[in-house]
């Protein structure tokens, strides 16, 4: 098998707070193959966004990538200079953020925002860039792209805005796109359209996508592989089908149980007991231990739980499967 496009190994990101050190990401390893869509699933505060930001080295102030490797096409992104990193941002790796209203600058027409990116990274002339922008918007399924270029972000609907954001992300033919909950702020029908678009574009351009979400339904439809993250640790990774057929980690199972089902009468919605809390100075044992309903005797004492393969391509971090 060829080398993966992006290979994250043992990534640790921590924030120094007054209360202690917060380990937002604690040793994450992930692989994304070329053209693959990898879903990174977990609940809020689980560190999924931080993994995405780390890849672009845009961890917010106060946070720091403590250790690990992020190898993109053979280069360790954590070792190159800021200038070299900037030449990768936007052109090789780009990002789609959650809220399309705030990820476009309200002060400029969308045309100039797309044109700016094209000129910056590809060195196009203004006229040329405008033509490409029209073509891009057309590909995104935006009606009357020429007129849309003249509009300000607030004149477009949420779905259209997110299409523009996606157009900007794809404008320089990146090899990898980090999509951080790109459909969370949209309503369900628009969500489906945007996902279909992403899927189509990823196929057409052979672009890999790191798709960060908390919605397992989206994962099922879109992703080739899934990684489940809890409190900054990957607890299970598997091909999408395999994961849905045979979830193994108690957290993954609990996530599936938390999806409301319309075909079964439920007295109460299922939810995982307790809260994840903030991972400050947590013991090294399994992070899900306090909330786990399937814990066994050894769980409380064993410091480090290894990831093991239980089926081809299916890895899980749980003592039950030792």
């Amino acid at each position: 098998m060829s080398e993966p496009l992006l290979c994250i190994r043992d990534l640790k990101v921590s924030f120094r707070l007054a209360r202690g050190i917060l380990n937002a990401v604690g040793g994450v390893s992930l692989d994304i193959e070329k053209g693959q869509i990898l879903g990174l699933v977990g609940e809020s505060g689980g560190g999924k966004s931080m993994v995405g930001l780390s890849v672009l080295r845009l961890v917010p102030e106060g946070g720091e990538i403590v250790s690990g490797r992020i190898v993109f096409e053979g280069t360790n992104l954590l070792e190159i200079s800021e200038d070299e990193m900037r030449s990768i941002r936007g052109s090789d790796i780009s990002m789609i953020l959650q809220d399309p209203l705030s990820s476009l600058n309200p002060a400029f027409r969308i045309g100039s925002q797309i044109v700016d990116v094209l000129r910056l990274h590809k060195g196009y002339e203004k006229k040329e860039a405008e033509l490409i922008a029209i073509e891009l918007l057309h590909n995104m399924g935006i009606p009357d792209p020429k007129k849309s270029l003249q509009k300000f972000p607030h004149q477009l609907s949420g779905g259209m805005r997110q299409r523009v954001v996606i157009a900007i992300a794809f404008s320089c033919n990146p090899k990898l796109i980090i999509a951080d909950e790109p459909t969370t702020a949209l309503d369900v029908t628009i969500q489906a359209q945007i996902l279909r678009l992403l899927n189509k574009l990823s196929d057409e351009y052979r672009t890999s996508v790191l798709f960060i979400t908390h919605d397992l339904g989206i994962v099922a439809n879109l992703c080739d592989r899934v990684a489940v993250i809890y409190a900054g640790e990957i607890v299970e990774t598997a091909p999408t089908r395999e994961l849905f057929k045979n979830p193994m980690h108690p957290y993954t199972k609990a996530l599936f149980r938390s999806i409301p089902r319309h075909d079964r009468r439920q007295e109460q919605f299922y939810s995982i007991e307790g809260m994840m809390g903030t991972p400050i100075d947590w013991p090294d044992r399994c992070k899900f231990y306090p909330r786990c309903s399937e814990k066994i005797g050894a769980c409380g004492h064993t410091d480090f739980v290894e990831v093991r393969a239980c089926a081809p391509g299916h890895h899980v971090r749980c003592l039950k499967y030792e």
Binding site: E61, L97, A107
Partner: protein, 296 residues
Amino acid sequence: MIEVYREERERFQKVKRFLSNGKVLFGGVVLLLLIFTAITAPYIAPHDPNEQDITATKTPPFWMEGGDTNHVLGTDSLGRDVFSRILYGSRVAMFVAVVGTFFAGLIGVILALLAGYYRGAVDNIISRFVDIWISFPPILLSIVLMAVLGTGLTNVALAIILVDWTRFCRVIRGEVFNIRERDFILAAKAEALGNFRIIVKEVFPNIIPLLLVLVTLEMGIAIIVEAILSFVGLSVEASIPAWGQMIALGRLYIHQAWWIMVFPMMCIIMSVLGLNLLGDGLREVLDPRLKVMGMK
């Protein structure tokens, strides 16, 4: 065709939205009037403002008994024409308002952008400096500055710049703080824009509405500060007519010739009121929250 028509109409509605706000309309008219008189004072003033006429001192305005249409608003204790002096006085007021506000804004905005964008140590240094600066009472500070710098028009402007840049710096820094947390800044970083470019192209355009409001308010403040300084005789030389100076002189004759003091006072009040209302109205019209809600 219909499209063109619609765009025309949208543009027209934008203008209408500005003008339908009474505050903007009133303040705008005041501001235009001020600019007009400041520029054309030498051409429209009926008399030389310094021309003394000992035979016609303290002539009342024309509609009063003993008034003279030659001196529309009367004359002062030295027989100088009050109306002409008021027209010329607007030049000092406008010079100070425009120059003082522009440079105070420039300094304030640059420091605010740096502090708000880089935060951390940069913000600490700039903000603590602003705190210390602000802790001096502004009027006292400007009087001390004038005493040190000496009188003169440019020095008045300089004193106002040195006192008032903090006003811009504080307010805009807060706004920059908000803006830099928005996703489009992160998106710009993910598109590999440099810090300088992000500040100039992404952050700055978004503070313009606020800046516009601050500028109009600051112009009003500058006019007041100049009036205070010239009232205590620390502004321009005595040969240049200024409103504060006229009030100071008129104060001595308030019982015999109220018009010497009252007309320049009214000018100051109207100018400052107009500029404040303009600022207030602009805030209403430009507030993006109201705009998003579709307020016309």
